[in-house]
Amino acid sequence: MVFKKSAVIDWSTRYEQLINSTENKVLKNFYSSAFNQPLAAIKDVPFVAMDFETTGLNSKNDDIVSVGLVPFNFQRIYCKHSRHWVVQPRRNLHEESIVIHGITHSEVDDAPDFNRIIEPLLQALSGKVVVVHYAAIERQFLNNALLLRLKEGIEFALVDTMDIERKALEARQGLLGKLFNTNLGSLRLTHCRERYSLPAYKNHNALTDALATAELLQAQLSHHYKLETPISELWE
């Protein structure tokens, strides 16, 4: 399937610029070890699915509560290397998000500050292409969290399974569908997974959602892409 290309960032060049411009050692290391082969076939790319649970949707006012990471590639998802952190948000937990994440105040009270996980988190991401469902959240929240603590934000290439799904649905919808503005279909993670007969998950914590996102990308890749497709067609 061929999708309309979105505005493509030349991540290869961008990482070179970032290595030179950053003052921070941790970030310099992260950029130096970033996966930097835009022509690599998707079957050879190391991915890591990432999901945050947050106190709300606004990255300016809300903060990260937990982080889930699941490394994988086209062939396999490696649960044994997955990571899960609960961290102390600087803002108060909203009552509604407590319900969704199942994370309680007492758990958070015992958790470390995000400061403590910056290094292990960036280390786990290094050399891998980050995969998320809905790029804005993880990208903005991570950027703001680092801005707050390191006085410097972060940029990284990522693959957005929601974006892939939107393109796939648009391609299915066709020109006529667009003209008549037919319903595209839900882009929520659960609904996207249903389209590929992936199981419904009852638990929603950062780790399960990261696993769910990894499985979704595997399914999307095997349905919509050739094994030899270069990663530069997917990342943004």
Binding site: F72, Q75, R76, C79, K80, S197, Y201, L211
Partner: protein
């Protein structure tokens, strides 16, 4: 620290063999799992390739094939594959393809081996030594249901009779008469069978039949010392033991032959005749019943009864369910009794007072199989006079019970047979007996008498048996203490669930490796069903029919009666197939099944069936306690 994979752990906890793992081990496993997605119709495992994981279907479905492309198994959510390859030589044995879009969990072989070492139940699930064999046996049985798939060796029922090329035709005629055969094979001592140095009479070179003696010897006035080689037919069509029955039919039609020698590696093992094939075709239970009634002596009946195992195997091969097989075997058993009673009355004269011969237990329930003992009794007319009539009824009872024993229905261990005087009672005595059992129940007394609550009239005044059934149905319903006692007895024989957990450990004792499917399966299930049937006043005797009454009466929670039916059918069929398999292998059929002969799939089903029994037994405990209501 590793992150906890809640979703994966919860999924595994619902599926065997993972459901038996301790929590800690389960969580560790969930953390180690690798996940992979296969689009519909893509190959997952390729024959002969290396394999390093055990696979669990998380969503979708997967098909496994034999090397020749035949479908071997279709797996749905929770299904497991790849174990054969892991256990053999880490090469894929059964190629696998995703039938639908599927998500699959992979468990690394090192982890798999470690869990097999650490957890017996986990290892048992994958124990495969015998299961492939039994599985194949059952598949083979299921296939051999007609002329096109049955093999000729299944038609050979007696040893081959052979003569030498130099035997005289008079000796041959004598031998054929003695052996009661219509043909003999002629072997040539000068043509040895190379790979069979012992007992080598040589290869088959000819055949002599009744017709040859008539047309070639008598009609042409040949001397009685003419040698076999001078009259034998040499245009032989030899059948290999593994050829199919339909090939034999074709050969007979093509060459107008009525006898075909069957050889195994050139060694003669038998002759099949046109009548063998016709008999094979007509081996249905109904014909057998007609045949029973035509027999004129106990000896004839006993001889005729030898066909019974074949009929049984045939029915199993024809895919009959346990109810059909049980009914057929019970009808046959009843017919044997009726014929024996007919012969008894011929011998000892007509009965001095009317009577009814009743069958008890499994035969009354129409659940009789091939391995069964006789349980029976007599109802005598109230005009019975012990001094005048006892001898007559002792005589016919002995005659029938001895006759049944000769026909393969062994004597009852519990001495519940008409030949014991205490089980020959008048009608009034029987009513008193049942009333006593129900009004003043004593657990021990009931334990020995529960068999009487399955009864069926076989001969004579059978309506007396029906009257007793009605009486029991009315009385049992209102006698809570009686039901409570029956319920308590029905919980005595527990299902062998422990077997599935640790049977590897039990090495001492002869039958430690096997479980008795009757004593710990079908019998306690029938006990449980009997209690419910008595509680709703059912007059039915058969467990499946009793369950229909129980469902109609709405006695049990939704679905429970259906569960009992499924469990009974599964265990009964397991027992039936096991016995059919033993008969075909030439073994004495029994009820003892070694669960290691089962596939993991069958083990799982059997375990579930036993679990239903266990639940049903504990349900009895609180629903029929002596001081509570039925519902």
């Amino acid at each position: 620290m590793q992150a906890e994979q809640v979703e994966i752990a919860q999924f595994l906890a619902q599926h065997p063999p993972f459901d038996d793992l301790p929590n800690k081990a389960l969580n560790e496993l969930a953390q180690q799992v690798e996940v992979t997605y296969f689009r519909a119709q893509t190959e997952i495992l390729h024959f002969g390739k290396d394999i390093a994981d055990l696979y669990v279907v998380r969503s979708g479905s997967v098909e496994m094939y034999r090397r020749n492309g035949e479908l071997y198994n279709r797996l749905s959510v929770g299904g497991i594959f790849g174990q054969m390859g892991l256990l053999m030589n880490r090469k894929v044995r059964f190629p696998a393809t995703a039938l639908e879009d599927s998500l699959v969990y992979c468990i690394n072989v090192e982890l798999f081996n470690r869990y097999c070492d650490e957890f017996d139940a986990f290892a048992d699930y994958f124990e495969t030594d015998g299961n492939v064999r039994l599985h194949q046996a059952i598949v083979e049985q299921a296939d051999s249901n007609d002329l096109t798939t049955a093999k000729v060796k299944s038609l050979i029922h007696r040893d081959v009779v052979t003569v030498n090329t130099t035997s005289t035709i008079q000796d041959i005629a004598k031998l054929m008469t003695e052996e009661a055969v219509s043909s003999v094979l002629v072997t040539d001592i000068n043509k040895p069978i190379n790979d069979d140095p012992e007992e080598d009479d040589g290869q088959v070179v000819g055949i002599i039949t009744d017709r040859d003696l008539r047309s070639k010897v008598v009609a042409q006035g040949l001397a009685f010392d003419t040698q076999a080689q001078d009259i034998m037919s040499t245009n032989l069509v030899l059948l290999d033991a593994n050829s199919y029955v339909f090939e034999a039919v074709l050969a007979m039609l093509r060459d107008n032959l009525h006898h075909l020698p069957v050889v195994q590696k050139r060694r003669p093992i038998g002759v099949i005749s046109l009548s063998d094939i016709l008999r094979y075709e007509s081996q249905s239970s109904l014909l057998l019943v007609r045949g029973i009634l035509a027999q004129q002596s106990i000896e004839d009946l006993a001889h005729y009864a030898r066909q019974l195992p074949n009929v049984f195997v045939r029915m199993v091969n024809e895919d009959a369910n346990s109810h059909m097989i049980g009914t057929a075997m019970a009808v046959i058993g009843r017919t044997f009794k009726q014929r024996l009673l007919g012969l008894a009355e011929d011998k000892f004269g007509p009965a001095p007072v009317p009577y009814c011969f009743i069958a008890l237990g499994s035969m009354a329930r129409d659940e009789q199989l091939i391995v069964t003992d006789q349980d029976n009794a007599l109802i005598l007319d109230d005009s019975y006079d012990d001094e005048k009539h006892n001898e007559y009824f002792q005589n016919i009872s002995d005659f029938v019970c001895d006759g049944l024993a000769q026909c393969g229905y062994t004597y009852c261990d519990g001495e519940i047979m008409a030949s014991f005087k205490k089980w020959r009672k008048t009608r009034s005595e029987w009513f008193d007996q049942f009333a006593g059992w129900m009004a003043q129940p004593k657990p021990q007394a009931l334990l020995n008498s529960s068999i009487f609550f399955d009864l069926d009239g076989v001969w004579g005044k059978t309506k007396w048996a029906d009257e007793l059934k009605i009486f029991i149905a009315k009385q049992s319903k209102i006698n809570r203490l009686f039901l409570a006692n029956m319920a308590s007895n029905a919980r005595n024989r527990t299902p062998p669930l422990g077997f599935f957990k640790g049977f590897v450990m039990e090495h001492n004792g002869q039958h430690k490796h096997s479980m008795n499917l009757k004593r710990r399966g079908t019998a306690p299930l029938s006990d449980v069903i009997r209690v419910h049937a008595l509680a709703v006043g059912s007059r039915k005797q058969n467990s499946f029919e009793r369950l229909e009454d129980i469902i109609e009466a709405n006695l049990l929670p939704e679905g429970k009666a259906q569960d009992l039916r499924d469990a009974l059918e599964y265990i009964a069929m397991m027992r039936i197939r096991h016995q059919a398999w033993q008969i075909e292998k030439g073994e004495e059929p029994d009820n003892n099944l070694d669960p290691r002969q089962l596939s993991p799939f069958e083990q799982r089903n059997l375990k579930e069936a036993f679990a239903i029994l266990e639940k049903a037994q504990s349900y009895l405990k609180f629903s029929y306690s002596a001081n509570s209501g039925v519902k």
